[in-house]
Symmetry: C2
Subunit: 262 residues, 2 copies
DNA sequence: CACGCTTACTCGTATAGACGAGTGGGCAAG
DNA sequence: CTTGCCCACTCGTCTATACGAGTAAGCGTG
């Protein structure tokens, strides 16, 4: 266990009223920000920092736990604490549901990911009828039961998004929409074929910390929030024909919208 | 120190390989989800839980720290640990920059907040010329120096948003835009008066954990992410005339967009 | 009644020690 | 050389203890 290279980290300020573990976190954060530790690089071990700063191990762990909460670092049991690499982000453009995209057949997710050079995957297919939640029912216009289509999206093996589409039974039952694979262009193409010409979408966006279940399905690291997007699709008659509830790993996405100034 | 009402929380499972502090966190989370503890209500004190579960205090604190990281609870020194109330959210509609809104004079923030019955405030006014960051320069089309307008928005005394607008100097210098108060309708109204008729906006949205500086300015509780929105305004000639960088407390906002299906 | 002090209870910070378990390199046996 | 074991190092979990500091209620004094 070689001592820490001097100059990498400074000393504590015993006169400061800032707690010791915060001072240590501050120093590490600054070192990371300044690039003294690069992405994926291993930080000094807990024992190193105990020696360097002359504090107890719990104090060092407290410091690390702050940085973990900020999403800056992640710990690997038996290996060390590492600067968390920033995964490449997937950009979602606001025209991703434009009719012209639907006409090419493949799903938008696959096409975009292929174009970006990453390996896309869709799993956890579940299609079933179920009772509509209060929220979904309200958005679809007082519907009791719905068809729910659940799927999870992965990029290069990493889960990045979990989505559920809800459709009124009178629209979806007995159609290709109720099949695991709805066919080229996805369910929006099928909806239009069924005579529900799409008019516009409404999207609501929130950000929050994930639930334990979301941490599990999306294999989220500590300190990574989720983007919660709820999209409602309206047909030309003003009827809500689909609600899509999507939870995305926030470190994997940038949403992009284009708005007219009129 | 009365013992915990029995039935409120269960027992630990010593055979489980789930860590004790996680089991405790699970039980508390579930109790909160089930409404056994309501918003703002005080949870059992650390000492209560130490007695109830027969564990050491650090174990209980570990459990609380999980819940804090999830944004579920917050601790108040000397008072206790409380279920974090969910502040009322401000909804940002995608037509909030429509020309018709600019014509009524008052700023969009003030109007909307008044309508929602909350008390709006804008502070931290800073208007100055500065060197453009690499990102801003790229978005504005290779501009070296910019006019930066910084302000912070508060609702009922709570900071909810921190925004900086960047404008090219050749557009903004010497105009009302460079004044602390740009006048009715805000800088977009001034831009149009100056002959830069607005054509459309692009908005990029990310979510992430806040930096320590953002925690301070927005007075964020633990476990509250931020929504980072970067809007670029384009005039009818296709020139980017403004970049607005906004950081919002994620627990205070729902963004809403309307997209055509064409 | 009003003020200030005491006190009990709360969370915040820090120390010291113990054991468990995952990782990876080195070394010895085959 | 390869295999398999051991060991050093790493983080994960947990206990026990100590003191500090903020809060609020109660109580006594003026």
């Amino acid at each position: 266990m070689s001592p820490l290279p001097s100059g990498l980290l400074g000393d504590l300020d015993p006169t400061s009223d800032r707690a010791v573990f915060r001072q240590i976190a501050d120093q590490l954060r600054e070192a990371i920000d300044r690039g003294r530790f690069r992405e994926g690089e291993k930080l000094p071990s807990e024992a190193d920092l105990v020696d360097h700063f002359g504090v107890s191990r719990m104090t060092v762990r407290n410091a690390f736990s702050i940085l973990q909460g900020e999403g800056l670092v992640h710990a690997e049991h038996g290996r060390g604490v590492f600067v968390r690499p920033r995964p490449p982000v997937r950009r979602l453009a606001s025209d991703r549901f434009a009719r012209r995209h639907r006409e090419q057949g493949k799903s938008a997710f696959i096409v975009e990911a292929d174009a970006a050079g990453s390996h896309p995957q869709v799993d956890s297919l579940e299609v079933k009828e179920e009772k509509a939640s209060q929220d979904v029912s309200a958005r679809l216009g007082s519907v009791r039961r719905v068809l729910a289509r659940r799927r999870r999206y992965l990029l290069d093996g990493r889960p990045v998004e979990f989505a559920t589409s809800y459709l009124p039974l009178d629209i979806a039952r007995g159609t290709p929409i109720a099949e695991p694979n709805p066919g080229p262009g996805g369910i929006y193409a099928r909806l239009e074929e069924l005579g529900h010409r799409l008019d516009h979408f409404e999207e609501e966006i929130r950000a929050r910390m994930p639930s334990p279940a979301e941490v599990k399905t999306l294999r989220l690291a500590a300190g990574v929030p989720v983007i919660h997007l709820i999209r409602t699709a309206f047909d030309t008659e003003g009827r809500a024909v689909e609600v899509c509830d999507t939870v995305m790993a926030a470190d994997a996405y940038v949403l992009s919208y284009q708005l007219p100034a009129t």
